[in-house]
């Protein structure tokens, strides 16, 4: 320990004080140096700790320990920063190597946080860091497929940011600075933080211009071919109808029988062409509905009358059970006809000889219920999930060599959903199936709406 001279100084206390001050200053100076470096962020200097202990030793040691801790922390932070930067670089490289455009949007502004190369390439211009969700249409010249300004509220990122849900659109057209147009498929997903708050939104987009062109050509082709097919089919239908009715004289029974077969084949072909056309309209999104108040009872009667020959051929009995006072439904009669026709023809086709098909019509609260019940081969458990998929056919149907396009239930479900209804089914393999269709009596879809 250093004894301060103060205690035994023969001189006056003033001089002793001065000595002490000088001594303290001398001992403090190096420490002050180190600290002043530290105060400007330089923690590299060390405190000199003399081997001889004195009153300043604990302070010096303390400061040195503090410096060491700070230096450790700084190193850790720097390492962390390095790692983050490496991660970010990796993420950047990864994002840039993706074949799809990626745009990470700030919430709620929608301004870009991160955008990859492909995104810039697709949009044909660099992203404006200040352009938020309300500016997308203007800044990036977004159009609808009809060439109108893309509605802000229709943008997937708008939906994701405002509602916190996933959104998907495949009708976003970008007019690039060179005036070329490309159609994008955009899918956006919300990103939530640890406590579940929306923290950002990620949009992934892809160029589907080619696919769109091919799709359009395909559906144009399908619809052209289908219409051309229908003309001879309807001619055959009408001519055979007149022949069978005796408009050209009474036919020998045998010939009438053969003609009836031709007639049924022709009708099957008409139904198939109708199905193909309907699917093509659904896919074009060009389905034009013409809704009126429709009597479900009349439609079901018409379908059952139409189906009689098929039922006879398959030796299946048709029944119709209806409640009284069934109200009219606001729907396109063609669609309701298709719904019932497809369900009934399935119920007959996938039935067994001497089987039964019963159509029930019931009234519910603000809705009607159509049940189509059969005693047929049923739908295998494993096929149930996919039964409404386009072109899907169950294994037992294929095995039983029952003909079908796999389009019927897809059309049925699309139409039922379109009119705000619901369809479910129960089935037991080898026992039969029952389809339940619910349709609202009043429909919210405006009859003037063109889709």
């Amino acid at each position: 320990m250093v004894r301060l001279r103060h205690s035994k100084s023969p001189k006056g206390s003033f001089e002793a004080d001065a000595d002490v001050k000088k001594y303290v200053a001398q001992r403090l100076d190096p420490l002050v140096d180190v600290l002043s470096f530290a105060s400007i962020g330089d923690f590299t200097k060390n405190v000199h700790i003399s081997k001889k202990e004195d009153e300043f030793t604990p302070v010096n040691v303390g400061v040195q320990v503090l410096l060491d801790v700070i230096r450790d922390k700084i190193r850790e932070l720097e390492e962390e920063k390095g790692r983050i930067e490496a991660d970010k670089k990796q993420l950047g490289t990864l994002l840039d190597s993706l074949p799809v455009g990626v745009y990470i949007a700030e919430v709620p502004s929608g301004k870009p946080i991160l955008v990859n190369k492909k995104a810039t390439e697709l949009v044909g211009r660099s992203f404006d860091p200040e352009a938020g969700v309300d500016d997308y249409t203007k800044t990036y010249d977004l159009l609808t497929e009809e060439g109108k300004k893309y509605p802000t509220k229709g943008h997937p990122l708008y939906i994701t940011i405002k509602k916190g849900i996933e959104a998907k659109k495949s009708d976003l057209v970008v007019r690039r600075p060179n005036k070329s147009l490309i159609t994008l498929k955009v899918q956006s997903v919300p990103v939530h933080d640890k406590v579940g708050n929306l923290s950002s939104a990620i949009a992934v987009f892809d160029d589907i211009t080619k696919e769109r062109e091919v799709e359009n050509l395909k559906s144009q082709f399908v619809s052209l071919v289908s219409h051309q097919l229908r003309t001879p089919l309807s001619n055959m239908r009408w001519n055979i109808e007149m022949l069978l009715k005796g408009d050209y004289g009474i036919l020998p029974e045998e010939i009438a029988g053969v003609l009836k077969d031709v007639y049924e084949s022709d009708k099957k072909l008409i139904i198939l062409v109708n199905d193909i056309l309907n699917v093509s309209h659904i896919e074009e999104g060009k389905e034009l509905e013409y809704a009126v108040g429709v009597s479900p009872k009349k439609i079901i009667h018409k379908v059952l009358t139409d189906m009689k020959p098929l039922a006879r051929e398959k030796m299946v009995k048709l029944h119709f059970k209806t409640q009284h006072n069934i109200p009219r439904v606001f729907i396109d009669p063609k669609h309701l006809f298709q719904i019932v026709q497809n369900l009934v023809s399935n119920a007959i086709n996938y039935n067994v000889a001497k089987g039964k098909v019963t159509v029930h019509l019931r009234k519910g609260t603000n809705k009607i219920l159509i049940l189509v019940e059969d005693t047929g081969i049923g739908i295998p458990e494993k096929d149930r999930e996919r039964i409404f998929d386009k072109f899907f056919r169950t294994e037992n149907a294929i095995k039983s060599q029952i003909q079908g396009s796999g389009l019927g239930l897809y059309i049925v479900k699309t139409y039922v959903k379109k009119w705000g209804g619901n369809i479910i089914f129960t089935s037991k393999e080898g026992k039969g199936s029952t389809f339940f269709v619910e349709l609202p009596i009043k429909n919210h879809i405006d009859k003037k709406t063109k889709t």
């Binding site: 219409h227 229908r230 003309t231 001879p232 089919l233 309807s234 001619n235 239908r237 009408w238 001519n239 109808e241 007149m242 009715k245 408009d247 008409i270 062409v273 109708n274 056309l277 309209h281 060009k286 389905e287 034009l288 013409y290 063609k334 063109k450």
Partner: protein, 124 residues
Amino acid sequence: MSQKKILIVEDDIQTQRVYHNKLTSEGYAVVLAATGKEGVFTAKKIRPDLVILDIMLPGTGMNGFDVLENMKKDQELKNIPVLVLTNLDTEERVAKEIGANEYLVKANVSIDEVAERVNKRLQK
């Protein structure tokens, strides 16, 4: 009562023939036109009691819609009932907006149904 006249505007020959056979057997006088232009011309000339109109009518650049529009503009023709019979199934709204009384898809109706609609319109 004099025989009612039906004008058929239809380009397909076989289809023309079915219409002709069915509707004459129902007691009507049937006049045929194969193009839009011919359709409008004949309508003006004979003033039919009813028109059966196809939509896709190749050749003269006049389709069924044009025929219908022309008829609706003509004071003497505008009240003649028009049954659109086509194999297009997406044009119902447009056809009815221009003034078609009925819209039937050929493949989806029987020839008897066609005759019934005609009879109903002409109150036979």
